[in-house]
Each structure stands twice: as C-alpha cells, then as structure tokens.
C-alpha cells in the first residue's frame, strides 16, 4: 500500500481564470475512485466543466463544499489509500495551506503569456505551454474561435508535450488581415508560423475550419506533419449550417449571439455570459467584420463548403484521428464517413460541434492516444 497523498486542486482553465466554484461533487468521501473518473463539476465565469481524478485512490477528504468558490490552486480534496492515517492527512492539509500563498505566487510568475510573431507578413498571437522535446502539438481553432477554445486541452496536454495554440489570421489577437480569405492564404501563413516559432514537424490538432487547414497543410507539406487529430473538420462534404456562419457574422447583440453560439454545443447551458461577451468584444474590433466576411466568402461560397480532394487525403501517410460529436449541428457527423486511409473515427454521444470543450477529458485522452 502506498502512503502517497495526492492533492486535488482547483485547475486553471484559460489564462483569465482566477477562481472557480465547486458546483457538485461526483464522488463520495471515503469512496474509491479510478484515475480519470469524473469527481467534480467546476464552474468558472466562462464555463462549467468536469474534473477528473488525477490518480486512482480513495477520496479521503472533500475540502470544499458545493457552492463554494476558491482560487486557482486551492486544495479541493485528497486522494490516498485507506491505510494512510488521518493524522497524516491533517498534516498534509496544514502544510499545503501554509505554503499556499508562496505556491500561488510561483505559479503566477511561471504562468505562460501569449506572444506575437510575424508570419506571412502579419502578426500572429500564440500561446506556448509545456516541455521542450518530442514532437510538438499545434492546436488550430475554427471559424470565429481563438486559442482560448483550447482552455481545457492545452494545460492538460502540456504536462507531457510542447503545445502551441495560435490565433489564426482574422481571429483573436492576431492581425485582421486575411487577404483573399481562402485556404491557400491560411496554409501559407501557417507554414510561416511554424518556421517563425522554429517547428519543423508537428502533430496538428485542428477543429472545424482549423481541421481543413491541418489537412490541406498536411497534403501540401507532408514532411512537416507527424499526425493529425481532426475535430469536426470542415471540408469533407458540401453541407454546412450557414445559420451559424451568417448568424455569427451578423449578430451584434448579446441575445442574438447567444442563440448563434448555442448551435455549437449539445447543452446550451455551456454558453456563459462571459463567453458571449468575449465573442462580442472580439467582433467589435476594427477589421474583424471584414475578415469574417472574406473568410466566409472564400471558404463557403454560395452557402456550401468547397470539398477537399478526398482521394488525395486517402493517400496521406500521416495517421489521422477524427473526433466528431453525434449532435453536431454545424457540420454533419456523417462527413466522417467520407475519409479513407489511415483513419480512426471517434463519434462522441451527446456532444455537439465543440468536443474539445464539451467532452474535454475524453478528447484529451484521444489526442494522447493518437500521439502514441
């Protein structure tokens, strides 16, 4: 029996998160939990997500009551074998709390900050987290998204990998210049981005429009792509829900934007007012409206997707893992069937167009598995 005590602490989901509320405990005090078992539901001002046990053990202590809000890094509970005496747990808690202020300060000092590089003649904003060495992972968001879409994935994946997430042209805090607004512009800038950050070869994780980008880039520069994880990728069939694209571009008010964003997820409760505010703030920036319209025109002319050459996709050597929500209301999950070749398809029940947010832990495991 191990006498190891594992602390469960408030995670940091996204750069802006400072505190979180424990909505519900999903495991009983004194009960055994598996590694990866959902044990907590945590709410931030932006989003609610489940938290999985970092290791197997017995949930010996639940340190925070449901409804309580605590800062990032605060002790939520303890996992330990039943044989570990209570006195040891008490001592652990006392020691943890005594050092808490120091730990928070250290974590803040070490927290990664987004940086800007020039690629393809424009400024791109990106966030790099994790350890050097090994094949890096690059996370590529979809239409209207930004690097914060990976808030549940990048921190977790960066524990074992070098993980970069970027804001595509026209998005987030990157330049709003999108040129012709087509995939050739995107992949050109993306290649320059990899050069600028010194990455020769990477595993690409692309969501929706970012999935198309990853695929097209892999076909253009196969030597630079070690593998692909495509999350509800665009470009595999003509159908796309233009209510989302047109609605996203057109919505100026909170109410309109809420109903548009709700199309993205199976459970509309995921769409928080902070999330809506962030999208509205982004859309107010000079150049965003023009950029989004140019991209929509370039990528979905006449309300249809330009479909990729699927025979070329089938010839790709890089392994492809596809993740798709069964309840995707933007791009039909049936598009996953069009892919042939080195492809593994994972269809997730009860999930919409944002599996990496809606079923983050599961998606993280699938990405880890794809990395081998």
């Amino acid at each position: 029996m191990s006498d190891r005590i594992q602390a469960i602490t408030m995670p940091k989901w996204g750069l802006a998160m400072e505190e979180g509320m424990v909505v519900a405990w999903l495991a009983e005090e004194g009960g055994a939990v598996e590694a990866g078992q959902e044990i907590l539901e945590i709410e931030t001002t932006k989003i609610t997500n489940v938290y999985e046990a970092p290791a197997a053990g017995t949930l010996r202590r639940r340190g925070v009551a449901e409804g309580e809000t605590v800062p990032v890094g605060a002790l939520l509970g303890l996992l330990a074998a039943p044989s570990v005496p209570d006195a040891a747990l008490d001592a652990f808690i006392e020691n943890f709390n005594a050092n808490f202020a120091v730990k928070v300060a250290e974590a803040e000092a070490a927290a990664p900050e987004p940086e800007t590089v020039t690629a393809g003649g424009i400024g791109l904003n990106y966030l790099r987290m994790g350890s050097e060495g090994g094949t890096p992972l690059v996370l590529i968001h979809g239409f209207g998204g930004d690097l914060n879409n990976w808030l549940f994935n990048q921190p977790a994946l960066s524990e074992t990998h070098d993980v970069l997430a970027l804001d595509l042209p026209g998005h987030g805090r990157s330049s709003k210049e999108v040129g012709a607004g087509d995939m050739a512009m995107m992949t050109g800038v993306f290649g320059d981005f990899l050069d600028a950050v010194g990455i020769e070869r990477a595993h690409l994780v692309g969501h929706s429009m970012g999935g198309t980008l990853a695929l097209v880039f892999a076909m253009e520069k196969p030597e630079r792509v070690a593998g692909l994880t495509l999350i509800a990728p665009a470009g595999l069939g003509p159908e796309i829900n233009m209510d989302f694209i047109d609605g996203f571009i057109g919505a100026g008010k909170r109410k309109e934007m809420r109903s548009v964003l709700e199309l993205l997820v199976a459970d509309p409760a995921l769409i928080s007012r902070d999330m809506i505010n962030d999208v509205l703030k982004y859309k107010r920036l000079d150049g965003v409206d023009r950029a989004l319209r140019a991209l929509a025109e370039g990528l979905f002319p006449d309300g249809q997707q330009a479909t990729l050459a699927l025979d070329d996709v089938a010839r790709l050597q890089a392994p492809i893992s596809v993740i798709w929500g069964q309840n995707d209301r933007i791009l039909p999950v049936a598009h996953a069937d069009t892919l042939r070749g080195q492809v593994q398809v994972h269809r997730l029940e009860g999930v919409g167009h944002m599996p990496h947010m809606e079923a983050a832990a599961q998606v993280n495991r699938l990405i880890e598995a794809a990395l081998g």
């Binding site: 805090r173 709003k176 100026g252 008010k253 909170r254 007012r273 703030k281 107010r284 920036l285 000079d286 150049g287």
Partner: protein, 337 residues
C-alpha cells in the same frame, strides 16, 4: 491584455482615430497647454490630462489650444464639422455649456434635419460631469438630460474604460453631433482594454449583470455602484439585472422594457437631478409600456433636487450611494401588494 485607465482609454481612442483619419482634430482650453507662452509645450493636455501627448504626436495644426470662450470655439468646431473636419472639442466642464447652447442646440443639432438630410455634422463635444470631486456646484452637475432632451444630438455616458474607448471611437466616426460625458471621478478607474481600435454601437444597452429578481437601470458612474449592489445581494439570494444604457440618446428602450418585464421590479439610479431627468423618463417609459408586468412601484435613486453641495459631508450625502441603491433594491424586492 493591458489594464488601462478611463483617461488612457479615451486618449488612446482619439489618438488611434487621428492616425486613421487626417480630418480628426482636437480643440479646447489647454488641450495641449502652454501655447504662446514660454515654458513647456503640452504642459497640461486638458485640465485633467486626457489629451496629453496628442500635440507632440500630431502637431499644433491638429491639436488646438483655444481661448477661454466656449461660445467661440464650440461654434468654430460646429462649423469645422459642417465643412469636412471631424473635430473633438473639449468643453472642460459640462456646467459651462450654457454659453454655447445656440451653437449646439440650434446649429449642430439641427443641420441634418433642416438641410433635408444633406448636411452632416460629425462633431464630438467631450465634457466632464458629475459630483464627488469637491469641485462645488458650478463644476459638478450632471447635465446630460438637457442634451438628451434635444432631438438631433447623441448623448454618450461611458461607464468604464472599455466602454469609454469603444464609444469614443464610435462617436468620432458618427456623422451626427455627439456629446460625450466623462465622469471626472472615474479617470483613474482601470480595466482591461484592447490595444486595437473597436467600436461600441450607440443605442445598445449593456447588461453588466443578469438576474431574475430586480432590474437596476443605472447610468454612467452609477453602473459600477449598481454592479457592487448586485454582487452583494446575489449572496443574499436577490439576483439583479443591471442595465447600462450606454447612450441616453438614442436610448435602448427595448432592452430596458424587456428587463423590466422579466423581473417585474425595477430601480433606476441616476446621478442627475431628479426633475425632468433620465430616471423619471425611464420610470415613465416602464410605467406606460409594461405596467401589467410590474410587481412593485418603480423606485428612483437620485440626488435631492438641490445644487451639488461643496461641504464634503454634504456632497457625499448628495450622491446616490451603494447603500441607498441597496436599500431601494431590497425595498422593491420585498414589496408585496
């Protein structure tokens, strides 16, 4: 994202628009400072430093120090706007506006209408308002209801640094005369403000809190007070919506009525005098349009109908406080017929 003050946010908005559009000019008393006298150029940047740095960057031709004659330089700004420039004129304290009412009400505010829509007057008049600065009754008034009353003018009351930057850029790009009210006590308030230019449309209220029990409609500086009350009462089980109309002309009546209808209980908070003010106007709109949904009388939290006192204790008592707003919200929340 960098934190910026209300002052910096307004300065950055003007500077970015001056870069973007060569027709944007700045004028007002001591907007640079030190003109025609020995000593430092750009000594002031306006009486509270909002335009500091613009003259060195854009030159004397685009940042004009004017004589202490509001009737003259506001008139000049109206004329400049009518003939192709986009002036941002600073009328220091809103209290001084009386000497140039004709230029604003009868000229700037009427050109578009009287010339059959063919004339535009892209003028911004920046002005400071509000109590709490120990500046006595001639430098502390909230005169935005007077301008809201006059058709042809747009009236803006930014409630935070983020709001101030986006609304200022919108004001400069707008083709109608805009009176832009800056609360002098808020200049050092800070929050995250994007470096890039962005606009916030006029006539679209912002909900800074969303709740089920009480709607608080608050203006300008009062929005942050209302937010404090909403956060405090949320812990006591009273959940509030806070509506920041952002502009009093145009006024987002739809959003105000929708929120009033949803909660059925409303408090309107306004730092301006109570008679013929925004609070009474908004209360009347609610009473006329969604009376059937009301579960309690609409409460107004305003100062008393007196000049702003100079004695600090009296001035503090005069301004609608967080405590007074909280009491009013508790009152309507607990009201039963």
């Amino acid at each position: 994202m960098a934190k910026k003050s209300y002052r910096q946010a307004i300065n950055e908005a003007i500077a970015q628009e001056m870069h973007r559009d060569p027709t944007v000019i700045v004028m007002g008393e001591d907007n640079a400072g030190g003109m025609g006298a020995p000593g430092e150029d750009d000594a002031w940047g306006g009486v509270l430093g909002v335009t500091k740095g613009l003259m060195p960057e854009f030159g004397r031709e685009r940042v004009l120090d004017t004589p202490i004659s509001e009737s003259a330089f506001i008139g000049a700004a109206v004329g400049a706007a009518a003939t192709g420039l986009r002036p941002v004129a600073e009328l220091m304290f809103a209290d001084f506006m009386g000497v140039c009412f004709d230029q604003i009400f009868n000229q700037a505010g009427k050109f578009r209408y009287m010339f059959g829509g063919k004339a535009v007057t892209p003028l911004v008049v920046r002005t400071m308002y509000g109590a709490g600065f120990r500046a006595a009754s001639q430098h502390s008034q909230c005169l935005y209801p007077i301008f809201t009353h006059t058709p042809g003018l747009k009236v803006v009351l930014p409630s935070s640094p983020y709001e101030a930057k986006g609304l200022m850029i919108q004001a400069i790009r707008d083709n109608d005369p805009v009176i832009f009210f800056e609360h002098k006590v808020m200049y050092d308030d800070e929050e995250e403000v994007p470096d890039e230019a962005y606009t916030i449309p006029f006539g679209e209220a912002n909900l800074t809190r969303e709740g089920d029990d009480v709607t608080i409609v608050a203006l300008g500086r009062m929005v942050s007070f209302a937010n404090q009350v909403a956060d405090k009462l949320d812990k006591d089980g009273i959940s509030c919506t806070v509506v920041d109309p952002r502009t009093t002309s145009p006024l987002d009546v739809d959003t105000i009525l929708e929120c009033a209808e949803e909660t059925g209980r409303v408090v309107v908070v306004d730092e301006a005098s109570p008679r013929c003010g925004m609070a009474s106007d908004i209360a009347a709109l609610i009473g006329q349009n969604v009376f059937g949904a009301l579960k309690a009388p609409v409460r107004m939290v305003t100062p008393p109908h007196t000049p702003v006192p100079f004695a600090p204790e009296l001035e503090d008592a005069y301004i609608p406080s967080v405590d007074k707003i909280e009491a009013a919200v508790r009152d309507v929340a607990g009201y039963a017929r």
